[in-house]
């Protein structure tokens, strides 16, 4: 028999991450394909981050090595991992504070508040450990491989990765729990979701700006040296201000000698930066490292073990009455009744229902319509970060030449089509209704109207995104009006087809059993399939365009009419298939 706490931890982990230890041997092909797809997605995303971090760390290593300050990348890793874990941990802790009724139910079980908070803490820690492993682990790997470090170094690195998230996470809960306890309006699932999603968007835009700005400068060793080597750098100050990061760095062999003050005034050119200070020790002594590791362990354990019992009572109190809503009473006058209750065409009623249900559910909104706004903003940030190199010199001339030919039209159309596919609301159209299908199917609703309303909603969002995408590209590359119109036509035709395919996919493969809207959206593979599918299709058309060598009008006709023809050709088949599948759906 397991202890109540270990059972609670298992339950929390399972409900947070959907861990399934079931064997895939003998499982249906669909299950195997789904698991393989998820695994592939995880590998791709991890590889993307590892490649990006690896590139930055290796560039930094090469720039710092001549100064003997190469362990600066470990300092950078420790600081960056601590900062990112704090921010991500904060967001995770907020968004998973009380995701379902289960948390409130725990209060009625014979569980101690510290067990409930402890299980929640462990669950949040798991995701932060992965972040720490990616960010700090990569620094350890780059440094260790280049310095031919011993296995003990990697072991210390692994321990550091395990320990680093604990203090930031404890700090995050130290802020969140008292705020939740005091601020009653925050104890609402929708408010929490809006705060967490907005903060996540701002964070990702910030990271995007940083990576875009930094990537063009990572080739310049002097720039890196000025920012990472020396006592007057941001990471050096951060190490001083945040002892756990300093201990992590020292545990991996870093010493103050690796931060020579003179480097802060390093020469600007790479060639001038080459002469290295000779008398820098290779690393701290083993004893110092061990002491630092013990210190990090002590601080981390103390933070977690102090915060959990100290705040568990407040956490339990904040859970009671979580997501309770105030009922507003108002007796409508005759006039109000006349204005409120009006008959509308059925298709419009169904369309308005779609819009309201998506826009009022934060997880649907942030993963759907909001992307129409945020994608151009993200692209704008990319452009802003690289505006100097894009708006002058050979790059600007190349862009002008590219825009004057078919390339500008195709770039605008491709970008618009990609932006238009990001909302992807049609790919979860039927899945979102799920249990409501039980009632909707008992109504005198034509499946065709029901599906058409979903397609129209998806297409309207795509059309808006297409317009924004085309205008944005036109602004960047100075596309003329004919290019704008051609790109818009191509993107709209493409979007019409893609929305139909999305709806068809969700009709064939709906996810109709879910407990929360988050599960309906996040555990539904259709959205990912369509977004990645569109990326591949756009890529293939980019390759095809190179070989076609058509004029702008030629491309507009070929692609615009081609996608339209495909849409109208697919329509009768899709209609029949969707009608049949809606009829067959059982909840």
């Amino acid at each position: 028999m397991r202890s109540p706490f270990s059972s609670l931890v298992r339950l929390t982990l399972k409900s947070s991450y959907g861990f399934d230890r079931g064997s895939i041997a003998g499982a249906p092909a669909k299950t195997v394909a789904k698991k393989a797809g998820i695994a592939l997605l995880i590998v791709l995303i991890s590889a993307d981050f590892l490649f990006m971090f690896g590139f930055y760390y290796y560039s930094a290593y090469r720039a710092l090595k001549p100064l003997g300050a190469q362990s600066g990348i470990l300092a950078l890793g420790a600081v960056a991992a601590s900062a990112l874990v704090f921010i991500l941990g904060f967001l995770t802790a907020v968004s998973t504070y009380c995701p379902s009724q289960a948390e409130s139910l725990f209060l009625a079980l014979p569980l101690r508040p510290r067990e409930i908070l402890g299980a929640k803490f462990i669950s949040t820690y798991v995701s932060q450990f992965v972040g720490s492993l990616l960010l700090m682990g990569m620094a350890v790997l780059i440094y260790g491989c280049n310095e031919r470090s011993s296995p003990l170094f990697y072991l210390a690195g692994l321990l550091v990765c395990c320990l680093l998230p604990l203090v930031p996470l404890a700090f995050a809960y130290l802020i969140i729990i008292p705020v939740m306890r005091i601020a009653r309006p925050l104890r609402n699932k929708n408010v929490v979701m809006v705060i967490a999603s907005t903060a996540a968007v701002v964070l990702s835009l910030g990271i995007s700006y940083f990576t875009q700005s930094a990537s063009s400068k990572m080739e310049d060793p002097a720039w890196i040296q000025q920012r990472l080597a020396g006592t007057n750098t941001l990471s050096a100050h951060a190490l001083k201000a945040y002892p756990p990061a300093e201990l992590a760095w020292k545990a991996l062999g870093g010493t103050e000698a690796h931060l020579p003050a003179a480097v802060s005034a390093a020469p600007a050119s790479p060639s001038a930066a080459a002469p290295a200070p000779a008398a820098v020790p290779a690393s701290a002594s083993a004893g110092e490292s061990l002491l630092a590791l013990a210190g990090l362990f002590g601080i981390s354990a103390l933070a977690a073990l102090a915060v959990i019992p100290a705040l568990s009572g407040a956490y339990a109190s904040s859970l009671s009455g979580f997501d309770e809503k105030q009922l507003r009473r108002h007796k409508a006058s005759r006039d109000e009744l006349s204005r409120t209750y009006r008959q509308r065409p059925l298709l419009l009623t169904l369309l308005l229902r779609e819009i309201k249900l998506v826009n009022r559910e934060p997880v649907y909104f942030f993963n759907g319509p909001f992307t129409v706004i945020i994608m151009p903003v993200a692209l704008g940030i990319t452009w802003f970060a690289q505006r100097d190199s894009l708006s002058s010199g050979p790059a600007a001339a190349a862009i002008a030449q590219f825009a004057s030919g078919s390339g500008g039209l195709l770039a605008a159309a491709g970008l618009a089509a990609f932006t238009a596919s990001m909302a992807s609301v049609a790919s979860t159209g039927f899945s979102r209704d799920a249990k409501a299908l039980c009632v909707l199917k008992a109504m005198p609703l034509d499946a065709r109207n029901y599906a058409l309303a979903k397609w129209i909603y998806g297409f309207l969002l795509s059309a808006l995104a297409s317009l924004i995408g085309v205008l944005f590209t036109a602004f960047i590359i100075h596309l003329d009006i004919w290019g704008v119109l051609g790109a818009l036509l191509i993107s709209l035709a493409f979007s019409a087809l893609i929305n139909l395919l999305e709806l068809l996919l969700d009709a064939v493969n709906p996810r109709l059993h879910w407990d929360s809207p988050t599960a309906a959206m996040k555990q539904n593979p259709n959205m990912g399939i369509m977004i990645f599918g569109v990326m591949i299709i756009i890529g293939l058309f980019a390759v095809l365009s190179v070989f076609l060598k058509l004029s702008r009008l030629g491309f507009t006709i070929a692609y615009g009419l081609g996608f339209s023809a495909l849409f109208f050709a697919a329509l009768p088949f899709a209609r029949r298939a969707i009608d049949r599948r809606v009829e067959e759906m059982e909840v």
Binding site: L327, Q343, P345, P444
Partner: protein, 285 residues
């Protein structure tokens, strides 16, 4: 008028269980005819097939065999026309939380093609009757379960349907609202509508049903009035006593005549019969 003919439905075809275990019908050859003006209570233990029957009756799922007729319209042949002829209250009122009460009612009225004047009048009338007129402008997510249930009942009546189908409608209602609903069911029936509802509350069935149907193991094991059920059980007991056998329902007096007792006896007997049938091949060996 509602007519069910030989309805059958089996789940788990080709599913995880279906491959290795024989699929058992959730509903097996169920036939039933409900007349205008009658209230029919559909009773059965958990998992007996009540909800599956209602889902087939309302067109939510397709039967494997059999047909459903609503006022003479074949549900499979002309689903829209057939569905216009009934109002349906599902067993889960938690489906519309992101809408306001007014928006839900407008949606329902638009789907059933109810004109402006009619919808206003009916909403006012029923909302006052259920005591939810002053909360209709609020988000449904802020309603209690009972309020949500009342709203669903209201929505199902907006087109004044000639047939009214309700799945566990009493659950979550306060005594006052439960009384109102029962009165409304009687009024609808008196006005010529057919009322079909499932329930676990024997008292409700006993008090307002003209006829009841008992389903167990997917089979309809009794249809008729409560009086007919009592007579049938008494006759079976007498026959068993004459043969020297003991049949279920040993309790005597007034209790033995209650619907609850009769229901429990019927279901127990059906289960015992199923077990015997299941062990027959083994016994033959």
């Amino acid at each position: 008028m509602i007519k069910l003919e030989g309805l059958s439905k089996t789940y788990a075809k080709g599913g995880k269980k279906g491959k290795n275990s024989p699929a058992r019908p959730a509903v097996d050859d169920l036939s039933l005819e409900l007349k205008p003006g009658e209230i029919f209570g559909f009773l059965g233990p958990n998992g007996a097939g009540k909800t599956t029957t209602i889902k087939m009756l309302t067109g939510v799922i397709r039967p494997d065999r059999g047909r459903v007729e609503i006022d003479g319209i074949d549900l499979a042949a002309d689903p829209i026309a057939a569905k216009m002829r009934f109002g349906y209250v599902g067993d889960n009122p938690e489906l519309w939380n992101k809408l306001k009460g007014t928006e839900f009612l407008n949606f329902m009225a638009d789907v059933y093609g109810v004109g402006d004047a009619e919808r206003r009048g009916r909403i006012e009338r029923y909302a006052s009757r259920f005591g939810i007129a002053d909360v209709l402008g609020a988000s449904i997510s802020s309603y209690s379960r009972g309020m949500k249930q009342k709203l669903c009942v209201l929505g199902s009546l907006l087109h004044e349907p000639p047939n009214w189908i309700l799945d566990e409608p009493i659950v979550g209602l306060d005594p006052e609202a439960a009384f109102e609903l029962k009165s409304l069911m009687r009024e609808r029936a008196d006005a010529g509508a057919t009322v079909f509802f499932s329930t676990h509350v024997m008292e409700v069935a006993e008090k307002i049903c003209d006829r009841i149907g008992v389903i167990a193991g997917g089979r309809l094991i009794f249809t008729g009035s409560l009086e007919e059920l009592r007579e049938r059980r008494a006759a079976e007991k007498n026959a068993a006593a004459a043969a020297g056998a003991d049949i279920n329902g040993g309790a005597g007096g007034e209790e033995s005549g209650s619907l609850e007792r009769l229901f429990l006896d019927l279901v127990e007997e059906e289960r015992a019969g199923e077990k015997t049938a299941g062990s027959e091949p083994e016994a033959r060996r």
